[in-house]
Subunit: 324 residues, 4 copies
């Protein structure tokens, strides 16, 4: 058995918060405790890393917080860390506090920061993919995605009640930034009549035809991703331009998708990721993200993580099949 | 014991649907069955009343639907019923089908229709207040209000998770049309920092000051009613005009407030209203709405029902107290 | 305007916890703050009162906890307070800490304690009815009842899914100690086929006949109160003794009814009760419980509070009507 | 492209119902429709298969039922199908109705039936693993498991509220028959203090020590599987035998774990399984179960499916780590 050289780990959450982050913190604390490693929590992401805004973390306190959404470490976006000077200051802060390993939980932007940091940082860093968008390479699921989808579908199920009572057409917008994952998952599982995602070109003429032909005794539900060139407002405008008689209702599920108690899956992902991150550090891994690929732990270098994420093939085929 | 002259009741739901309508239908069916009264369901509100779009309703089928949101009778808005001719046609349809009493479940617009109908209709009519807006005179609570408020607060609780993780300011819009009831209730019980309702003038300068002074380690949550001269977008615009540096997030809870399984309170209200409506008809009441005033059944003539609804005094005082 | 002689209030929660207690604490803190009254929290009910286990409470901290079930002050049962010596010690502790008014939140047992305490205590005390059982005289609803009923019906709705898939008979036990309120409310609103409460004699022969005659294509759901002479096990045994061929499934909803985020109604009740308790003290009221009667605030002396609570007449009649 | 020889598929659900079965039916109907295959629904599992209790299924009707728990086809256990004569009758019924392929959704017992049926049945059969227990070989997740775990943890989260308010010890029993999967998943993600499963020997002395040493300011939560030699009652009895002073509360989550709206994951599993089952039949597969292994579709012969299922290694290690 190798001697563990890691004596003091620091952890932070960064970027948009996502459900399951607190479960990951609990698991990190538990794994650290078992390996006699001191654990420091960094508040507000890179900002707290630069400023040394630290708190002590113990498994015992975190145990009852697995059910809680958000992140008790808080999170923030940091302009200073985008500059080399900020990153140098962060490294200095880590060294002054005798921290010999770092765990970062966040999304796309967080990993860009980690990649830049790795150029100057000689302390090992492990990343955990925490974002509701499921748009990170190197993992089949990100921490928070399942919770966001479940929040979305619970809301869409409610919309169906009122939509069916009125035989109405609803355009429902879900989150995901540039990624259609939340839209595909939530759209398929609520039995949506159409699903629009940023990864595909939209055929608004076909959509209008579907709407005009839908059984007037039923609801018609369109699930659409947010996005610069998509979103419920834009879709409604396009349809209205073609046919101003069509009655549409618009609902944006909105920020509620980021909050709420995490689902079992996200809590379990948080636990798996958290334990794996600590064990990876003990095994001298560095500058990799822990992910879940084919339901097994998998490590990916930061430079691979930030590449363009794709919708997997089985999902794409399901999307074609369920298009009427 | 008086002889029951009512042999055949018809019931419809009209206007916006609201959670609890199916429970009311179950109770009407049960009370009708006990009194050997035939019950006919009219589909799509006044539209089905005019056209004779009828189905048979039995307690046995409805029993398991108390938990279901929306209305199995469907609902619609009817232009034709706004015309005398439409109402005459409706009366003719009722007579041709040997219907000797009518129960209507709906909101403000529905009761305006009933008042107009009562001028020509010699068949007794009882109304049940079904709307999430709680804006009907003659009842402390409308059917669906409690469910809408609970849906709103579950969503705002989730927003608090993410708002606190980022120390953000959120402007959250809830429904209620011209009534601030949903905003007051949901705002007070989620611990909102400010609550804006159409019944009061807004002091945007004070609101901006509160936002600027809020403890930066916390979330700041504003709950605001929808409305022609209110709503989250407008509030955000006003604040931004005064100070463009303030960062705001906007969320509209939206149509989900109309759907979802009704709460216990709304199902119970539906049951109480439904049974009372049938019993009122048996007792020869007519052209009144059954409501709940001071937690007791209460009947109000249609012309009183449509008057301007007010926020009660205790609530107003609470609103003042909880304004920081 | 009268001068407020109250400068320092202490508050505790006692007996079984119930959802909404934290909202009441928030409201008490807010009302105290507005009136420049210091607020002290007593931990673990009468135990903390005797031992001086105190914490400082501020509205600001409590604001975000309205959504949280349980009580942040914790609660406990106290044998020592049942003795005169314990109560004397409690009074001494209050005086030593310059506390000049007391608010107690709890159920039946708590009010028995308050009544005994009032014999020696010259400090004004106001009670708030906090129990899921809804068995307190002087209030139409206790704090936590609505949440418990909603938790019960969400679970029974789920049981209906599986019961209907198998056409099964389920005996579902809900809480309420000696009171049938939770059973009546939850039974009526889930469309139960039979409801058994401790306030009525049970006719097991009739129940068996109903079960034998139920439509075999449906579920059959019995909702039964817990109780020394009731409960799901006992009902099942009685039925089985008469006819061992009947297949029954038993489910006890159990302690989950005490927990979970409070509903809007319970949070609002907590807010109304909390504000009213502080204002009552300022108005020199003492040794009364604040309740809600006919949807209005109402004060009842402790000796009335602990009398035998009754099921109201409208509910009793509904129970008869919905018995098949 | 191969010619599709399948013209008429029949589908049934069997054994215990599980959330997600309706989503699977929707997907089967959609895939059948796309391939111009007629779809017949068989009611009540093997019973309806023997008796020809059939209904027509169309994607259009099923689309809005993805959110619904239970199974609209109903389910039952069948003694007759355990006899060769019953199975012969079933085959005859299939042939008389010109059914040329069969899809079965169910658990362990269902697959034993399918294996026996395959000895005489020359019609191709595909199985889908539908059970909350996650105890089927050939799939990482069964349909319904994720929903059951989420229902369990929502309830345990509520119990934590009351447990923490009282600093109590709770023994919470979850389902799973002989499999500890639900207990491991739900126990880990709620931050349980101990998790007892049938796959491991129990060390009650160690458990008692943990209980005696737990921080008295906290809750202590034990999650335990049901089972012939396990379950909350038995665990409580063992502890009490060793030390009768320990105060314990017992809660069985019970049948609610079988019901309720399926989670996103289970609905998606249902969709993936349903589409894959139809496509497998078109590709001439037979007598295999479709599962999900390493997040990819996977087919396993019936004789492999019914072998003893194991807890995977990563989970076992987590269980060791999170034992205090």
């Amino acid at each position: 058995m190798k001697t563990n050289l890691i004596k003091h780990i620091a952890v932070f959450t960064s970027g948009g918060d996502s459900p399951g982050m607190n479960a990951a913190l609990y698991a990190i604390a538990k794994a650290a405790e078992k390996n006699s490693i001191k654990l420091t929590g960094i508040k507000k992401g890179y900002e707290g890393l630069i400023d040394g805004d630290f708190i002590n973390l113990e498994a015992h306190q975190l145990q009852k917080l697995t059910q809680k959404g958000g992140t008790i470490l808080k999170t923030a976006r940091s302009k200073r860390f985008m500059e080399l000077e900020g990153r140098k200051k962060a490294l200095k802060t880590l060294k002054e506090n005798n921290i010999d390993a770092l765990i970062a939980i966040g999304g796309d932007g967080t990993f860009r920061g980690l990649l830049a940091f790795s150029e100057i940082c000689d302390i090992p860093v492990i990343g955990i993919p925490g974002t509701i968008d499921n748009d990170i390479c190197g993992t089949d699921f990100t921490l928070g995605f399942d919770s966001a989808v479940n929040t979305a579908i619970e809301n869409i199920d409610k919309i169906r009640d009122t939509a069916e009572s009125h035989n109405r057409v609803f355009i429902v917008e879900v989150m995901g930034r540039d990624s259609g994952y939340i839209a595909i998952y939530s759209g398929l599982v609520v039995g949506a009549d159409a699903i629009l995602i940023p990864e595909s070109a939209q055929d608004y003429i076909q959509l209008l035809n579907k709407i005009k032909n839908y059984e007037s005794e039923e609801a018609f539900i369109v699930v659409v991703s947010e996005g610069d060139e998509l979103g419920a407002e834009l879709v409604a405008t396009k349809i209205k331009e073609m046919n101003s008689d069509v009655e549409l209702r618009i609902t944006r599920i909105g920020h509620v998708q980021r909050g709420g108690n995490p689902t079992a899956l996200d809590r379990m992902l948080g636990i798996r990721f958290g334990v794996a991150a600590v064990e990876a550090l003990i095994q001298s891994k560095k500058n990799v993200m822990v992910g879940i690929v084919k339901n097994q732990l998998h490590f990916t270098p930061f430079e691979e993580v930030i590449k363009q994420h794709q919708i997997n093939n089985e999902l794409k085929q399901l999307l074609v099949l369920f298009e009427k």
